[in-house]
Symmetry: C2
Subunit: 349 residues, 2 copies
């Protein structure tokens, strides 16, 4: 399976594949401060909750290196505060961003001042390595519970891109489950929903799966119900940007609709996400902030206006799927059937 430089350390800088340019161009951008990294996250150079977590960790590391290049500061927390705030405020829904900051920040005070830049980089590298291992474990666990079908490929529908490109560049979460099934020798056919407005399904999921030779068919998001009604979808597998304490899962806009459709057609619905996506501070999905993104993402495509002039626009980037519509929650520790508050709590250390 191919891997990607989603967010990696290269020559003392954070290097990220510019996902806005895919699938047409493979362009890599370099970041040497937290503020620049925060802009990259906000502008969706990198996207996908676990990938944002990795980029945030490297953004913290590169900021410390930038500061130390002048002098070791009297107070690391004070010197880092503006950069940490810029990262924290870059995007509101993916909790992995906050999780990465909470993991990096204590090192500013628990480490000898001159060791801080190296220690932060070690931690960011550890987060990236753990993400790779987590995606592969999740892929294995998730694949093991996928339905059996006879004499034909198992057809898995997915939404947005919860792939290698949405994580540390290896396997992915939802696409990790698909890759886990392929590795286990299953015949798989993927239906990729294009995922308006940003077209992550058409641009990213199709691109990365085809590179691994996985049979992939593109549909517009509004075709899912029709295909389910025709019996053409065996299971739905998606990622998550934040999972509340009761198992409600925020994910790319449109996910909730697919979950409602899956329930009507008795199709199992799997959410695959690492434990770092779980937010125990959110008792349920209503406490997850939903980012509203610029109208131009809806009215324009490739810089070209498609919608009538003067029309108002709503552009919520995520929605919440209630736990009751989720058949399985797959993570690096295993698969939970019909997630709820107790089962989610039991997954955490």
């Amino acid at each position: 399976m191919k891997s990607f430089d989603v967010a990696v350390w290269r020559d003392g800088k954070l290097r990220m594949l510019d996902q806005r340019k895919l699938p047409h161009e493979e362009v890599y951008l370099e970041y040497d401060s937290a503020a620049a990294t925060a802009r990259g996250i906000r502008d969706m150079v990198v996207r996908g909750a676990p990938a944002i977590g990795c980029a945030t960790a490297f953004g913290v590391a590169v900021e410390a290196r930038r500061i130390a290049a002048q002098d070791i500061p009297a107070s690391w927390p004070a010197a880092m505060a503006p950069g940490l705030k810029a990262l924290h405020d870059s995007r509101p829904t993916a909790v992995n961003l906050r999780w990465a900051l909470e993991r990096m920040t204590p090192l500013l005070t628990s480490t000898a001042p001159e060791r801080v830049p190296d220690r932060l980089l070690e931690e960011a590298q550890a987060i990236l390595r753990e993400d790779h291992a987590s995606c592969q474990a999740m892929g294995h666990h998730g694949a093991a519970v996928l339905p059996q079908v006879d004499g034909r490929p198992l057809t898995i529908m997915t939404h947005c891109n919860a792939g290698a490109l949405a994580t540390g560049g290896v396997f992915g979460t939802a696409l990790g489950v698909i890759r886990g099934a392929v590795v286990a020798g299953r015949r798989i056919r993927v239906i990729s929903c294009e995922t308006r407005p940003f077209l992550q399904g058409a641009r990213l999921t199709a691109w990365e799966l085809l590179q691994d030779g996985i049979d992939t068919t593109l549909i517009t998001d509004n075709m899912a119900g029709h295909l389910m009604g025709k019996g053409l979808i065996d299971v739905v597998v998606v990622g998550a940007d934040r999972v509340a304490a009761n198992g409600d899962a925020a994910n790319k806009i449109g996910t909730y609709t697919h979950a409602v459709l899956a329930r009507r057609h008795n199709i199992p619905f799997m959410v695959a996400a690492p434990l770092s996506t779980i937010d125990l501070q959110a008792p349920d999905g209503s406490h997850i902030p939903i980012e509203e993104r610029p109208a131009m993402e809806v009215t324009h495509l490739g810089g070209q206006r498609v919608a009538a002039d003067g029309v108002a626009v709503l552009n919520p980037a995520f929605d919440v799927t209630p736990a009751e519509l989720i058949t399985w929650f797959a993570c690096e520790r295993g698969v939970v059937r019909e997630p709820n508050r107790d089962k989610i709590a039991a997954l955490l250390p």
Copy 2:
């Protein structure tokens, strides 16, 4: 309310607004044969079931005029056969096409041969006039049953374009109901789903409603579930391309998904279509042919490729909403609650 030259007779030819160019350019094309008209229908210069019915009728009229310009044929049915077949085969789902042919064809034999061209044109003009009256009646009837809300505008979600542009250029079907409500003094807010892949909602519905000063907000199709979950949609109103004898309704791909979502959220779901859309030969929705359109409509936008190279594509242009998900069927004769076989039969003469 503004009207549009969707399909009109002008200087001995059929003139149609090229809807593929909207909202950027208002270009009118002229047709002087049935074959050319059939290509215009296939290529979606004109679209929308009632509009296709009007265009078909004028396509028959213009074909007779073309033939008579050389000589009155020995057999009108024989002379017209290739043109009628081209029209018949242009698009498979909208039954108004077949309905218009069935209304025009008997005139070839029941009329004195030299009178045929004039008689066909009279009939086409009658079809257009009846469409205008039908949309206005349907709009009035449909508007009368819309829910009452206090202290805020009634929010109506619609899908695709079932407007003046989808009919004879006046009022429309689903948008006719919206216009009927506006005419009746109701405060209305419209949520227009963009309707991938052809973007009829973004390009056409927004364009025509804004010209009438109706408050219109654009969303991507996959946002509907999220908005319904937030309580932001009061009612869904859509058109239909073919209604089966039991009330199952084929309409633009994505409609079925909206109906499933509406049921989950206890939101009433209205289908507005003229009686010419009812096909008693289709006992239920499974007998309605669903057109599969070219992959390029999904992979490209404005001539520009958006999807990853080499990905397979499905592009069904319609889906079927079962009658059990339809709260009201509105037509020119009135509104039927919870349509079924008996209630649909009772609507027809």
